[in-house]
Amino acid sequence: MVAVQIEYFAVLREHVGRAREDLTTAATTVGQLYAELDQRYAFPEVGRVKVAVNDEFRDWTAPLKDGDFVVFIPPVAGG
């Protein structure tokens, strides 16, 4: 099990109802973590979601380590 912190933005923040949460999980990759949270929250269908770990973009297969800070990134719309 690893302890991680998750921050939600925009459409995901509103859906989950909070910006941050601390979680202890058996997930070993960020993809598994997303699947676990999707089970709990039933995330809305928003298209292609990316993921960042410790403020850098990562693949969904990236390993999850104790203390990681994870952000799921729904489609962006700057400008």
């Binding site: 921050e7 933005f9 925009a10 459409v11 923040r13 993809g31 598994q32 997303y34 699947a35 809305p44 269908e45 928003v46 298209g47 292609r48 979601v49 993921v51 960042a52 403020d55 850098e56 973009f57 969904w60 952000v71 990134i73 729904p74 489609p75 962006v76 719309a77 700057g78 400008g79």
Partner: protein, 151 residues
């Protein structure tokens, strides 16, 4: 030094224009993105921008670094607003200087296009009818390409 910043307060291009001044520059190209009163056939009354600042500043700086690698420019800078914006407000500014105008125009275009598509910024439109929506995140089932969801 950082070439990309977020601003939670309203700003004017003049506040940042000096950052791209350079004695070698013979031209200055800029882009201003403004909040418009309509999108996709609907009346828009205001916008909210939300940003993931720590990663956004890194990715914004990577975009500007790419512009320096691709075009012979002197200086470049980009500032993006966060928070609640009204119609006509300045949402994003890009300023680029170069010895010659072609590089300044091309780099300015490159920076705004890449910032819009890559930097983690989200835009919520508030409509005249009172409802609202996160742009690019409202997917109807038919819109979702197969295999686009995370594992």
């Amino acid at each position: 030094m950082s070439h990309f910043a977020f601003s939670r307060e309203a700003f004017a291009p003049e506040d940042f224009r000096a950052l791209v001044a350079d004695p070698v520059a013979g031209g200055y190209a800029s882009f201003e993105g403004w909040v418009r009163n309509h999108n996709a056939g609907r009346g828009v009354v205001r916008l909210e921008y939300e940003g993931y600042a720590a990663l956004g500043i890194k990715e914004g700086n990577r975009v500007v670094a790419e512009a320096f690698a691709r075009f012979p420019i002197a200086r470049a800078h980009c500032v993006h607003r966060l928070g609640v914006l009204d119609i006509g407000d300045l949402a994003v500014w890009v300023g680029v200087t170069a010895a010659h105008r072609d590089a300044a125009f091309a780099a300015c275009r490159y920076i705004i296009d890449e910032v819009k598509s890559r930097v983690p910024i989200w835009k919520k439109e508030h409509y005249a009818e009172g409802d609202s929506g996160w742009i690019n995140c409202e997917v109807r089932p038919a819109d979702a390409p197969a295999g686009s969801a995370p594992p």
